[in-house]
């Protein structure tokens, strides 16, 4: 039975929009012979035990994640499908270190590039997702992955990339009127409008400093620093070799590097700072990625539309160099339930109530007897909650009862009426009784 590899669908001419999926495909294409594996562009992560792609299904066992799949192939098929078998012990250690290095540095950089930067997201990423997802999932999956990318990069302090530039133009006075739309259309077409003579953006108001301190340029300096943090060590490791570790053969680290770096290089984003950085400062990395693409994937542009039609079983004729297969069709009921779940999970208020607990998978936990905690246990908390709920219900009941049977006549609190007249002010304030007399007089009048 062939291996079944489920991944996020292709984008930008690359096998997948996700770096780890693209890396896994590159690994498979390199070492596993044609006919022994199939590739499925999927979008339903619930088939994966860890709710993530890539997933390798080999008979009954399912493996998630690039590193896990690589070690599964190494351990379960007697080393036949191991790209790293010729590495020395030290190189294996280096591979472990650089794999985690790529994850922890190149991952956030790619997140910034594809998801956080609103210009790139709107122009490139979201349309790439449109090509590989059914229409309904377009409203749930890309925003979710964007939120995750935002969370991963929040510590970098670059959320200024996330400014929707459109707001700047439309927020002006009189926006939304027919004439302003006309002006905007003219501006977009490059025709000078009489509304505002724009000689140069470098006006007195901004100046060069102002231009450089505008969010996109201020972020640019930080982004350049971040990208050199990623590319410098890789460039050092690559040196003059053809591959990162071994001189003459690609390893699993090369596949992972290809997954991350190819998305940086080939995504047709309007703000292509990563592509520029690689092109100008790291020509060796540029040549390395191009070479890997030709060697690992045959240098073919993957057509997302074609793969989409294969995935849905409409087109089985066109030959591909990757073994794309249609995804198995689900019953109408299951897909409807899944769609409903996804919609529920994205509604602002409902999701907070429906959201299930964080999934923690730990087999060993049950073996350890939990020790006594000095915090109040759950039954104490439940008791308090029950008591306060009871009290609230009682008060509410009383209020409803009062509302239903209003008391007849005026409600007079006899206890509050002064019994001894206004002399009750006491001796020290006896002069106030003058006031009281006035009040009484006023009242009687």
């Amino acid at each position: 039975m062939p291996f079944e590899l489920h991944i996020w669908g292709p984008a930008f001419g690359l096998p997948s929009i996700d770096p780890e999926c693209a890396a896994t495909v590159a690994y498979f294409a390199r070492i596993i012979p044609q006919g022994q594996w199939t590739l499925i562009a999927d979008y339903d992560t619930s088939i994966s035990p860890q709710n993530e792609f890539p997933v390798l299904i080999d008979g009954a066992s399912k493996t998630t994640g690039f590193s896990n799949i690589v070690s599964y192939l190494r351990n379960h098929h007697s080393g036949a499908y191991d790209l790293d078998y010729s590495l020395t012990h030290e190189q294996q250690t280096d591979r472990t270190a650089y794999v985690s290095f790529l994850r922890s540095t190149a991952g956030p950089l790619l997140d910034l590039f594809l998801y956080v930067s609103s210009e790139n997201y709107n122009a490139a990423t979201s349309s790439a997702y449109t090509a590989i997802l059914p229409w309904l999932a377009n409203y749930t999956i890309p925003p979710k992955r964007r939120d995750l990318a935002r969370a991963r990069t929040s510590h970098l302090g670059l959320s200024s990339l996330d400014v929707d530039e459109a707001t700047e133009e439309t927020r002006g006075p009189g926006s939304g009127t027919a004439s302003s739309e006309y002006e905007a259309a003219k501006r977009a077409a490059g025709i000078p409008t009489e509304g505002q003579p724009k000689a140069l953006n470098l006006g007195r108001r901004k100046g060069l400093g102002g231009l450089l301190s505008s969010p996109i340029y201020a972020a640019r300096f930080k982004l350049d620093a971040l990208s050199s943090e990623v590319f410098d060590p890789i460039s050092d490791l690559l040196g003059k070799k053809d591959y990162l570790l071994d001189g003459d053969k690609p390893s699993s680290l090369d596949c992972l590097a290809f997954g991350y770096l190819s998305l940086m290089l080939y995504a047709p984003a309007p703000q292509a700072w990563l592509k520029e950085a690689i092109g100008t400062k790291y020509p060796r990395i540029l040549r390395y990625i191009r070479r890997l693409r030709a060697e690992l994937l045959g240098g073919v542009e993957i057509d997302s539309a074609l793969v989409w039609s294969i995935t849905n079983g409409k087109d089985t004729e066109t030959p591909q160099n990757l073994p794309w297969q249609p995804r198995c069709r689900q019953g109408l009921v299951t897909s409807a339930v899944k769609a409903a779940n996804q919609i529920m999970g994205n509604m602002p208020v409902v999701s907070a109530m429906v959201r299930n607990q964080v999934v923690i998978q730990d087999d060993g936990k049950s073996l350890i007897s939990a020790s006594r905690s000095s915090l109040p246990s759950s039954w104490v908390l439940n008791t308090i909650a029950a008591c306060s709920a009871l009290a609230t219900a009682g008060l509410a009941g009383l209020a409803i009862h009062q509302r239903r049977n209003p008391r007849e006549g005026l409600l007079i609190f006899w206890a509050l009426r002064p019994s001894t007249g206004f002399n009750a002010f006491g001796e020290a304030e006896s002069f106030l009784s003058v006031l009281a007399g006035q009040m009484q007089g006023g009242a009687s009048m």
Partner: protein, 317 residues
């Protein structure tokens, strides 16, 4: 009389009115003489200035590093129980800088995170300009390395190894080991024996406040772990930590310090911060506080890392 008055009333001339208005404003805004005399006698009595609060910085002539610690541990200079704090504590010790510890919490820090250092005021002449505006110059953790370089003794400056694998291996500590640490401390059964006495019980005596602090802490740890994977899988975290420890042990090899350096540096401090805490069997002050010892066992199996930790512990603590 009346006619004269009515005359002036009927024919109001500006010339006569102005001086009157000026006189009036003078009488309104100037302080009446008796009150002025009264206030001239103030202050009747000036009290001596209050003593500083007991918690005010006492050791202004020494550098004070604020870390997560117990009051007793801070006095004894014991290792902090927070990895980030312990890393800088060890680094400053490697630099040969004499400093005092102060038990603190996140709310005390200007940047919102511990550790931070308040340099001694006597040596703070170079930082004096900054301290004028702030009242006190504070070194946050991301500037501690630079500060340590500037303030260590002659010939004590630590040159970080220029190995090109430095960043790659550092990511093993910052990603794999840290994730396993977060899981084992906050989400495993260790939470009630380790995180509770160390982080939660000192914050408040109210059980409900403690409970909400605990759940905030746990959900923050879970959110941190969920950033890089869709579910939290303990086996995977432990496997990654084991890989990382194996790689670190390999990197250390037979050397005394990482990258074959002559004396320990920031790298050794960042590894020590995790290995020491994982190997410390009385981390919360009680024997047997490691209920879930799976990550701890991973380190214990690595003899090289255990030896590395012992060397630092003996030499500097």
């Amino acid at each position: 009389m009346t006619t004269a008055q009515s005359d002036t009333h009927d024919e109001p001339s500006r010339d006569t009115r102005r001086p009157r208005a000026a006189q009036q404003s003078h009488s309104i805004f100037s302080v009446p003489t008796p009150i002025k005399q009264l206030f001239d006698r103030f202050p009747l009595l000036s009290y001596p200035s209050n003593d500083l609060p007991l918690r005010a910085p006492a050791n202004r002539n020494a550098h004070v590093l604020h870390v997560f610690s117990t009051d007793k541990g801070a006095l004894a200079g014991a290792p902090s129980y927070n990895p980030a704090c312990l890393k800088w504590q060890a680094y400053l010790k490697f630099c040969g800088i004499d400093f005092k510890l102060q038990a603190s919490n996140n709310h005390a820090s200007p940047s919102g995170a511990l550790p931070f250092l308040i340099p001694a005021t006597a040596s703070g002449t170079s930082a004096g300009k900054e301290s004028k505006s702030l009242g006190l110059s504070v070194v946050p953790s991301n500037k501690l390395q630079k500060w340590g370089m500037q303030n260590c003794g002659e010939g004590q400056a630590i040159q970080e190894p220029g190995d090109f694998r430095y960043e790659a291996y550092l990511s093993l500590v910052d990603l794999n080991v840290r994730r396993a640490w977060l899981y084992t401390l906050y989400l495993s059964p260790n939470f009630s024996t380790l995180a509770e006495p160390l982080y939660i019980l000192p914050t408040s005596t109210n059980p409900l406040v403690r409970l909400s602090t605990a759940s905030t802490l746990q959900s923050a740890a879970a959110a941190e772990l969920l950033k890089t994977s869709a579910v939290i899988n303990a086996d995977e975290l432990h496997r990654q930590a084991d890989e990382a420890f194996a790689a670190l042990e390999m990197l250390l090899g037979d050397n005394e310090w990482f990258f074959g350096a002559e004396k320990p540096g920031l790298w050794d401090a960042s590894v020590f911060a995790y290995t020491h805490l994982l190997l410390d069997e009385r981390l919360s002050g009680v024997e047997g506080c490691w209920v879930d010892s799976r990550v701890r066992d991973l380190v214990r199996a690595r003899k090289g890392l255990v030896g590395h930790r012992e060397r630092i512990l003996k030499g500097w603590f």
